[in-house]
């Protein structure tokens, strides 16, 4: 096994000049993020744009979005392991790699949001005091770490088996696959419940939030996968079959249609009989008492998503790679705004006492967030490199 780790490590860090340039670039952006985080550690969260009024912002927005990306790996896991689709099985490990990178990013976004990160061990049961099952945040800690473990353990077993030249035993890992499927849905449901559990915040306090989170995750996840698979097709010898992309595009189409329907349902309920519960959504879309800095963003998101759903719904356009890619980029950005800043920030505006205080992220927040995204990409790149090396049998246990 030590030999496997050694070979894995070597394959991760061997590549041509472009590969190294890419790693260096990501490393540099990550370092920039670290420098900015050092600033935040030194001066406190005062360097962010956050306030008592809007106490969560850009970090938690990215967190909510990335949990969705992580959960979307299930869209490859189900057809690969349950329906035994050979074409999907070829890429499922990459999907799980995306999940690992996304969960780590999501966790880091929570850590950088903490006022006292050095006390994070207070969350560890026995030595600390995890408020489980009462606190939804405790639930999120449990499900995210569990999901990370599952998505490390299953691919590790499969890769290690292939490395040794033996067929992975389905009866051994199948129970964990089933668990991972349920778990994937649970991570995003729990994250939605984290918000919807608060009657103090009428904007989030809706039963539709969970379904909306899942629907939008099944848009942003496939959008990202489709783009990544094409990039890999271009620059590596690893061939992702077109049927994989077709399936993902189809899932994404349904999910985006459903998501837009949910948005309409939300808008109708809030605006038909407008009351105190509608203040946040009015702030978000139209502005409130002269404040409305988020409105342009949500309209951009809505426009992007509508254009994307039109492209995806028209079959010839969805099958054409150029238009499909446009739809992927538009909906990825659209969902990122809608489920990120468009969900988290209006929950705080107005405050429960009716005060309107706006928020925009500072350069420190942006740089730290970029750093985390770079680290996520770096993790995925290394994992993908390893998966390709094993799948193409470039590394295997030497015959003894």
């Amino acid at each position: 096994m030590i030999r496997f780790f050694f070979d894995a490590f070597r394959s991760m860090f061997s590549g041509d000049r472009n590969y190294w340039l890419w790693l260096t670039f990501l490393g540099a952006v990550f370092a920039l993020g670290c420098l900015n985080y050092a600033q935040q550690l030194q001066h406190g969260l005062v360097v962010t744009g956050l306030s008592d009024q809007v106490s969560w912002g850009f970090y938690i927005s990215n967190f909510a979005f990335l949990v969705g990306i992580a959960a979307a790996a299930v869209l490859l896991v189900i057809p690969a392991y349950i329906f035994e689709r050979k074409d999907i099985k070829g890429v499922v490990l990459l999907g799980e790699g995306i999940a690992v990178a996304a969960v780590i990013m999501a966790m880091l976004f929570v850590v950088v949001d903490l006022g006292r990160p050095e006390r994070i061990w207070h969350m560890i049961p026995l030595i600390g005091r995890l408020n489980f099952p009462l606190s939804l945040l405790a639930w999120d800690v449990v499900v995210l770490s569990g999901y990370l473990l599952l998505n490390l353990a299953i691919p590790f077993y499969i890769l290690y088996s292939k490395y040794r030249g033996v067929e992975p035993r389905l009866d051994l890992y199948f129970p964990f696959v089933v668990l991972a499927i349920v778990w994937a849905i649970s991570i995003h449901t729990v994250t939605a419940f984290l918000f919807s559990a608060n009657p103090a915040r009428p904007y989030w306090h809706t039963a539709l939030l969970g379904p909306r989170f899942i629907a939008s995750a099944f848009v942003s996840g496939p959008a990202l996968m489709i783009v990544i698979f094409q990039v890999m097709r271009k620059i590596t010898a690893f061939q992702v079959k077109q049927s994989v992309i077709d399936l993902l595009a189809l899932i994404m189409t349904f999910a985006l249609q459903i998501n837009l329907f949910f948005v309409i349902a939300e808008l109708f309920t809030d605006f038909y009989n407008e009351g105190a519960h509608s203040a946040s959504i009015r702030y978000l879309f139209l502005g409130l008492h002269g404040f409305g800095s988020l409105a342009p963003w949500i309209w951009i998101a809505l426009t992007f998503n509508v254009i994307a759903v039109i492209i995806l719904t028209i079959h010839p356009l969805r099958r054409k790679m150029l238009t499909l890619n446009i739809a992927c980029v538009l909906s990825f950005v659209g969902i990122w705004i809608e489920k990120g800043m468009g969900l988290v920030v209006p929950g705080f505006i107005p405050t429960p006492l009716g005060e309107i205080f706006e928020y925009s992220p500072t350069s420190v927040e942006l740089a730290v967030s970029l750093g985390i995204w770079a680290l996520g990409l770096l993790i995925f790149t290394l994992l993908a490199k390893l998966v390709m090396a094993v799948e193409q049998e470039r590394i295997h246990r030497p015959a003894s």
């Binding site: 001066h43 207070h122 405790a138 009657p199 103090a200 405050t351 429960p352 006492l353 009716g354």
Partner: protein, 314 residues
């Protein structure tokens, strides 16, 4: 260091705590504290042992009396280093048979905000941060829509014709959503009904602030700044002791005062007598009289958090 010790034993309240400890047979811990060598700056002004203890301390509810004593001593030393002032940090437990409640007479409140400034001083709230545990909202008569309230009115010109004033602070909910939200049990409801925060256990995730329907929780975005001469040296572990950066704080019904039978600072400061504070379990208390004889209501009662804070009019 020895001067420090003498000063402290002179004040009555410190002696109370030492007596309390002696009853537990742990006077040695207090004596040891006096002989600790000058701390090195490497451990943030504490000795290595103290810094280690502080980082790896147990949850408040799991600490032994000795550990609590060591913690209180550490807090006092830290305050001395930070402000150059000797403070007394108590750990007075909740009294038996007491659950505190509060009521405000909206007919009497004129919006002077003396309660706000008294609270800031009493509770060692950071002066630069503009954190205030009490918000007095200026409202149009005939309207209870909080969204139309004025938070930043000028207290010099009150009362304004056609306005009324609605003070809001932590309602010490019986089923507090903030307590449920906290992932590490850094905040809980004490037996006397006060929702407290352990500033040394809070990880600063601010989920409690998200959960609170009264916007009663505040975060230390930066190190709270207090002029040393204005520091209130009578402090409580679960109350007004100096807070570090990066943790949440809130109104705690002046734990340091009310657990010794005194009034909360906001009530004492109110020039119009609009505030009524007392023991909800005592049938002869003024608060019980108000609840039984006035038409009272609670803010956002429909959220089901069971606030122990009522409003009434004459």
């Amino acid at each position: 260091m020895s001067d420090d010790k003498v000063d402290k034993t002179d004040t009555g309240t410190v002696a109370t705590r030492r007596n309390f400890l002696r009853n537990f047979g742990v006077g040695a811990a207090g004596a040891a504290a006096a002989t600790i060598p000058t701390p090195s700056p490497a451990w943030d002004g504490l000795t290595f042992r103290e810094a280690f203890d502080e980082f790896f301390r147990k949850h408040y509810k799991k600490m032994s009396p000795e550990e609590i004593e060591r913690t209180l001593t550490r807090i006092e030393r830290r305050a001395k280093r930070r402000f150059g002032v000797d403070i007394d940090c108590k750990n007075t437990p909740a009294q038996e048979g007491v659950v505190f409640g509060y009521a405000i007479n909206l007919s009497a409140c004129k919006g002077y905000r003396d309660c706000v400034s008294a609270c800031v001083k009493e509770n060692n709230v950071g002066r630069d941060s503009q954190v205030q545990y009490i918000r007095v909202l200026e409202m149009d008569r005939g309207n209870m829509n909080l969204e139309e309230s004025e938070h930043y009115y000028d207290p010099e010109t009150v009362p304004v014709e056609g306005k009324y004033y609605l003070p809001v602070q932590c309602m010490q909910c019986d089923d507090a959503p903030c307590v449920k939200a906290c992932p590490v049990e850094a905040t809980w409801t004490e037996p006397d009904g006060i929702v407290v925060v352990d500033y040394d256990w809070c990880i600063g995730c601010r989920y409690c602030m998200t959960a609170c329907p009264y916007w009663a929780r505040h975060f230390n975005w930066t190190e709270p700044q207090i002029p040393p001469e204005e520091l209130n040296t009578d402090t409580h572990y679960l109350g007004n002791r100096p807070r570090p950066r990066g943790v949440v704080e809130k109104c705690h019904f002046c734990t340091q005062r009310t657990r010794e039978g005194r009034q909360p600072a906001c009530m004492e400061a109110c020039p119009t007598g609009a505030r009524v504070f007392g023991n909800l379990l005592d049938p002869d208390s003024e608060i019980r009289y108000v609840l039984e004889n006035k038409t009272v209501f609670r803010l956002k009662e429909d959220l089901g958090t069971e606030p122990k804070f009522w409003y009434y009019t004459d």
